[in-house]
Symmetry: C2
Subunit: 332 residues, 2 copies
């Protein structure tokens, strides 16, 4: 079988970035990635993270550039580079200030999770005991995100909050990195109810390859992953699914501790990064997934959709302004 040569988009990565990984992206044919630039950071701290990315863009212009639009994905494809799209896993960078949503869009942020595991100012995380749904500020922020073009991501959010935001958002939302809980039943994975509601509104699910989200953890097989994708396509359609690998390559274990505990608790978890499945260890391994998807019966076009075209359509619909501001709609 000829090696897959279409557009590859990964819906989430948080690697310990280096020239090696940027070269892997190019060699592996990865056209675009959504990268996390904030877990628990304040606005100011997040801006420092953008400045670090700007330095990488300046140093490696033949490998990577800052992606802001769907057209940038096509530009990456044409120039043999990888477009890097910024996102937050937590709304902490907008703090308690509604005006920061627009500012973040100006800075090129294209995804924001409304909550990360815990309750946020906006929504509930998947590890809370109770989920009271979208907050007052949450409703305001959803409107602003819709307006300017920051995609709502509910990967780490709880069920009621997720269903409410699917209803409230005027634009399709994403779950960039998670799997169906029917395949592996953990708090981070999603129910059929959520996945159906997501697909019915044109939203996207990115399949996670993080061991804690897949069946049999580090021993998960490619065939099992691809079978899961086929079952999910029956539920959601083949147009609303893609990859969101959650690849955390080369990160020290201190980073998973930061993800989990941030500054909100003194109780450390002692968590470590699990070993990746043997068939997905780096950005060189995406083409193998395409082969696996063909083997479980996906058609050529469906594989192209799943590997990148579906995310590309979502990017094209999601990152521009909703409409020109209406003249003088609010007066003092």
């Amino acid at each position: 079988m000829a090696s897959f040569d279409g557009i590859i988009i990964d819906g989430l990565q948080y690697c310990h970035w280096s020239e090696k990984i940027f070269r892997d992206l190019q060699r592996g044919g990865v056209t675009a990635i959504h990268v996390t630039i904030a877990y628990h950071e304040t606005f100011r701290e997040m801006v420092g993270n953008i400045a670090n990315w700007n330095r990488w863009f300046e140093r490696f212009p033949d490998l990577i550039f800052h992606g802001r639009t769907g057209a940038d994905v096509r530009k990456a494809r044409e120039t043999g580079r990888t477009a890097v799209f910024f996102g937050f896993q937590n709304p902490s960078p907008i703090e308690d200030e509604i005006g920061l949503v627009e500012i973040c869009h100006q800075l090129g942020i294209r995804f924001m999770q409304l909550s990360y595991n815990n309750q946020s100012l906006l929504a509930t995380g998947c590890y809370e005991a109770e989920d009271p749904g979208i907050t007052r500020m949450g409703k305001e922020v959803i409107r602003e995100m819709n307006r300017f073009g920051i995609a709502i991501d509910m990967s780490h959010s709880a069920e009621r909050s997720t269903l409410e935001v699917i209803e409230l958002s005027s634009r399709p939302i994403a779950i960039t990195h998670a799997n169906p809980s029917s395949w592996r039943d953990v708090a981070r994975n999603k129910s059929e109810t959520v996945l159906k509601a997501l697909a019915e509104t044109g939203g996207m699910l990115g399949f996670s390859l993080y061991p804690h989200h897949v069946k049999d953890s580090s021993d998960c097989t490619l065939a099992s992953f691809c079978e899961m994708a086929a079952r999910t396509a029956e539920l959601m359609g083949a147009d609303n699914i893609g990859i969101g690998s959650d690849l955390c390559q080369d990160q020290p274990d201190s980073v998973v501790e930061w993800m989990r505990t941030g500054r909100w608790t003194k109780q450390l978890t002692g968590a470590t990064f699990p070993a990746q499945p043997s068939w997905f260890r780096s950005n060189l391994d995406f083409r193998g997934i395409a082969d696996g998807l063909r083997q479980v019966g996906f058609g050529k076009e469906e594989v192209a959709g799943l590997m990148g075209e579906n995310w590309l359509r979502f990017f094209e619909r999601s990152f521009g302004a909703e409409a020109e501001p209406q003249a003088a709609s609010v007066k003092s």
Copy 2:
């Protein structure tokens, strides 16, 4: 004499912004203004000020919008609105982080003073006893401002620092709001040496209408102001001069105290805003200046230059990227 109907650009204002003033801008035919959005603010505080402006842009889209390019001045002219360009009077918002220059350009900042009255991390202010010139970080920041397209403004800087930056900068710089010290000899005004060096490198001087910078303070006459402009045109040429009114309309006196003392001293000055000259009290008064300039002998084209076309050319040359980043010029 027919009332002036060309492009009007004001090189600096810091009013207590309100619908009234935005309407004055439109009625007064002001096409573009450079407004101060930071005196002593940190980066985070400055972003809050941008958020306030974004709210005004949202509320008054028929009057004002955020200007980023010379083309935006023409767009303002065509749509009967005022393009608002952001600037800092002090480099405090970039803190000690070189990467914030690019971030600020992304946020639409188009002018930055390298120092405000005092020594900064970059250069010396006009009220310091000693002026050791541009600092190590100053040289780095000048390169980044040149590269991304933030115009260097030395209005409140000391002489040696100003002469050095004129030499160091690869692009023309501005003194957005000051006058020749030969007309009024105060620390804020500029020597012939500075004005000549500025003009020889294609830089711009914006004539200030702030009473402390003009002859006879609040009693300054329009004729005296326009005569000064004519003498300066003899020194600098009529293409390198414009208006930078420093209009601080409707501000409470607490604001001039903030400008002068920020957070760097506990000694308050008790300063108050002086009364404006009778012929320049608001944005309705620019056309009168155009009349005055004709009366001291400026030709019609020269008046158009002085009222706005000269600033427009400067904007067109100054706010875009210097060049595409060179591929792979720095490798790890």
